[in-house]
Amino acid sequence: MNRLINAITLKGLPARDIKNANLANLWIFAWAGTLAIISFLSKYDWYASVLPTTIGIVVHVGIGVGMMLAYKRLLKHLDEMERKIQLESMALSVGMTLVGFSTYSILDKAGFVPELKPAFLIMLMGFTYIGGLIIGRIRYR
């Protein structure tokens, strides 16, 4: 149980890496927040004209780019074992999302499941990535 808690709380990582990870997490939350706000406003015809749509897209993409740069910075400064854990988690996340998406598409076309929402894919990516990080940290410690 201690190993699980240590894996989740980043115990043992240098303070600089924890700071970079927290910064990347803030960008991720901001990006997810803009996605949620844009999705919410689109229900009320907020994006019926070009200007609000452009503003929404620019803000969302801008924060998305910030998120990627923050993550790149995190990866650059990590030591080699933690970087390996991160890359393995990303590989797991991408693989699971591809397989999950293709399987869901087949079931969707066959009429067994409702139409796929993009938010499900983002959630699948997020959960498999976090799961991969926890598994990796437990395995190497």
């Binding site: 043992g12 240098p14 030591d79 080699e80 074992m81 390996k84 190497y140």
Partner: protein, 66 residues
């Protein structure tokens, strides 16, 4: 891959944190290398060799037979 990192560290009375600081990696990485759960990269192996004043083969041994 087998290694003598733990023995060499103990001979010098260094903690895992000391070694981690010298090699510029996290303490978790030192633990994983000592437990032979993680194989270091060649640059890190060279760094360890320089630190202990030994060759890489004196610290790390391949488990595969020739």
């Amino acid at each position: 891959m087998k290694n003598r990192l733990k023995v060499l560290r103990a001979e010098r009375d260094w903690t895992q944190a000391d070694l981690a600081h010298e090699l510029e990696v996290s303490r978790q990485t030192i633990i994983a290398i000592e437990k032979e759960k993680f194989d270091p990269s060649l640059p890190l192996a060279f760094k360890a060799a320089r630190l202990f004043g030994l060759s890489i083969e004196d610290i790390f041994q391949d488990e595969l037979p020739f």
